[in-house]
């Protein structure tokens, strides 16, 4: 794995403008019986797709989409990183939604997937444009803080720390955390429960 700068994602999009989509729906628990993330992509939204032939992930016109457009509180529930892994392996490289659950958002950033937010009215316009023409190209621009499509552009929000991490290519935190080994040891010496609660 190597770090790389994520400054923008361009491509077609798939609209799934539902609220409170939980990670059990993104990847049902039975597919977590695995020791690698390989092969999760084909099971993204497996049960929703089985129950709804018209589900966007079943529609050929959205095949190959790089941007997922979702609703409010996307990715709530389980902390399973299998969820953004499944979306990424299906082909999603960026997500545009009204809001995200916190653990899911962090997991996306840790995989280099920008997850930006749009105001609801603009999100609905975007979804309608994609429905009308699935070949329309969407640009998620992290540096400009915008999502562009056709003639439209909307302000896209992303917490500054995630934006900086993605655009600087420093979204793999492991190497940064490792670099501070001395400070970690120093901090540990000041924590009461690591030193006999202040005893001699």
């Amino acid at each position: 794995m190597s770090d790389s700068q994520v400054t923008s994602v361009c491509g077609t999009a798939i609209p799934l403008l539902l609220d409170d989509i939980d990670t059990d729906r993104i990847i049902p628990a039975r597919f977590l019986r695995c020791v690698t993330f390989d092969g999760l992509g084909e099971h993204a939204f497996e049960d929703d797709r089985q129950q709804d032939t018209g589900h966007p992930f079943n529609q050929d016109r959205f095949a190959g989409a790089e941007v997922l457009v979702a609703g409010r509180n996307f990715g709530c529930g389980s902390s399973r990183e299998h969820a953004p892994q499944a979306l990424m392996r299906w082909g999603v490289q960026a997500i545009v939604a009204e809001s995200y659950a916190e653990i899911f958002f962090g997991n996306c950033t840790a995989l280099g997937i920008p997850a930006v937010t749009l105001k609801r009215d603009r999100l609905e316009e975007l979804a309608a444009s994609i429905e009308a023409d699935p070949s329309i190209e969407i640009t998620v621009d992290l540096e400009a803080g915008s999502v562009g499509w056709g003639d439209g552009t909307a302000t896209a929000d992303l917490p500054e720390s995630a934006r900086t991490a993605l655009t600087s290519g420093e979204w793999d935190f492991l190497s940064q955390l490792l670099a501070n080994a001395e400070a970690i040891r120093e901090t540990a010496t000041k924590i009461p429960y690591l030193s006999g609660f202040g005893g001699a």
Binding site: L32, R33, S168
Partner: protein
């Protein structure tokens, strides 16, 4: 002897005190690098993390502050190895191999301390006030009951904590949720958290840590506090906590991982000093009248879609416009009608278990309802204790006989039908009264299976009657 920062009482809240104490520094992008005092590991979210360490040639920084157990995939009936499910066996073998290779203690099936990770940590005394605790599991919020900062994390973060004992995190805001008064008879901790989520919404807590306070929490025992903190994540809050008090201290006294003698007294003094002071400030404050909380039942497909047991199922029009599509989706999936009383709704399955409600006090409450009665014809009822220790204590009290005599299946410890990664699953469109934490579509193992969340006592009542029942009516009948 007292190392506690003088500013930790008075105007500071517990969260800020503990966060600052564990702060290693700031990363380039602005996140805090946070030291982690205890890391709990289970078989589902760890194999890829260990692989990441292998890929980079890294070891585990603090194996002595890391403990693994197995809970999600293990069968609760026939536990002979190899498991009938080859994929589960592969995961079990992987965690056994990883723990040996990386020098981490594993509480496997042959260890009497094995159980659901969020039941085991507190039982062993690993969960203590003032620590930071993480696990690759969203219900890690459970451990906040002790006044810890307890966070669910993803697998990449599991790898980070294994390798560095630290985590990159943005500091959340803190919302104090005060529940006043006392709970009525037949109203439990589960009802309190369902009521909180109903009021604040399933995403109301995003970006917040929840501090639970007020007389209702003062009166709760530690297991009840764990039930509430457990479902913080269902309200969007990644962590929730209760300030440590004398109940916290007495719960911890004598547990295996807790210091003894003079060191215990020093520990207790420090723990109590961490509690948010009377003038502590918060980013937000919510007050809820505890006396008004009823036994609560979910009717929908997220834990915020609930009603009191005396209420009827709402209509889409009862909700703000932006929520109405979700309400309609839920009603359709659940096959329920607006205006229908939730009481009387037939069930097919009753599940008592999960990291929310599988501790000894939960089993006692359910057994009190089941005692001397019979599970209704056509209802499949399971009791799955949260750990081998819970199982042993329950058996010593004869609770297993109470359940078996009433027609419940008494199983071995694990996560079981909460998320159905093991063979315990709903079939088809079965409707399940469940003491677990999530009523998401397909959560209990059948893509079309349906879940009604409620307290363990309410699940027992539903099992006996064959439909959703106000547990207070059964209590009166018995009394």
């Amino acid at each position: 002897m007292n190392q506690s920062n003088a500013s930790s009482s008075g105007s500071r809240n517990l969260f800020d005190t503990v966060w600052d104490q564990h702060t290693v520094g700031q990363l380039a992008a602005g996140q805090t690098q946070l030291f982690i005092g205890q890391h709990l590991v289970h078989e589902v979210t760890s194999p890829q993390a260990f692989e990441m360490l292998r890929d980079r040639g890294l070891g585990v920084m603090c194996p002595e502050r890391t403990l693994a157990t197995v809970d999600h995939i293990i069968p609760t009936d026939d536990q002979a190895r190899p498991f009938a499910d080859g994929l589960a066996e592969e995961m079990m073998s992987a965690i056994e191999r990883n723990c040996v290779e990386f020098g981490i203690e594993l509480l496997g099936l042959d260890d009497p301390r094995q159980g659901i990770v969020h039941v085991v940590g507190p039982e062993l005394g690993l969960t203590q006030p003032g620590i930071t605790l993480v696990c690759g599991d969203s219900h890690t919020s459970t451990h906040g009951a002790f006044g810890a900062i307890a966070l669910g994390i993803g697998t990449s973060q599991v790898a980070q904590v294994l390798a560095t004992q630290t985590l990159a995190m943005n500091r959340p805001r803190v919302r104090r949720i005060e529940v006043t008064g006392s709970l009525a008879d037949g109203v439990f901790a589960k009802d309190v958290i369902l009521a909180i989520i109903r009021q604040l919404g399933v995403q109301g807590g995003v970006g917040f840590a929840y501090e639970y306070a007020g007389n209702v929490f003062d009166e709760m025992d530690m297991e009840e506090r764990m039930t509430v903190c457990n479902m913080s994540i269902e309200g969007g809050a990644r962590c929730g906590y209760v300030n440590p008090d004398s109940r916290t201290v007495e719960f911890l006294r004598g547990l295996p991982a807790v210091p003894e003698g003079e060191e215990f007294e020093r520990a207790a003094a420090w723990w109590l000093s961490l509690a948010s002071g009377p003038d502590a400030t918060f980013d937000d404050h919510v007050t809820i009248d505890g006396t008004a909380i009823e036994p609560t039942v979910t009717w929908g497909i997220n834990p915020g879609q609930s009603v009191g047991v005396g209420e009827s199922i709402p209509a889409a029009g009862d909700y703000p416009v932006e929520d109405q599509a979700g309400v309609l989706e839920a009603l359709e999936f659940m096959g329920l009608e607006s205006g229908q009383p939730i009481q009387g709704q037939p069930i097919d399955v009753a599940f008592i278990g999960s990291c929310t409600n599988s501790r000894l006090s939960d089993l006692r409450e359910a057994a009190a309802v089941a005692s001397g009665r019979r599970v209704a014809d056509g209802v499949r009822a399971l009791v799955v204790p949260g750990s081998q220790q819970v199982s042993e204590q329950a058996e010593a009290e004869g609770l297993d006989r109470v359940f078996s005599d009433a027609g419940f299946q008494w199983r071995a410890a694990g996560c079981s039908m909460c998320l159905a990664m093991n063979p315990d699953k709903l079939q088809g469109r079965e409707m399940c009264a469940s003491s677990s934490n999530r009523n998401f579509k397909g959560r209990q193992g059948s893509p079309t299976g349906r879940t009604l969340l409620m307290s363990p006592a309410m699940v027992a009542a539903a099992a006996i009657k064959g439909h959703v029942t106000d547990v207070r009516e059964l209590a009166e009948a018995a009394g």
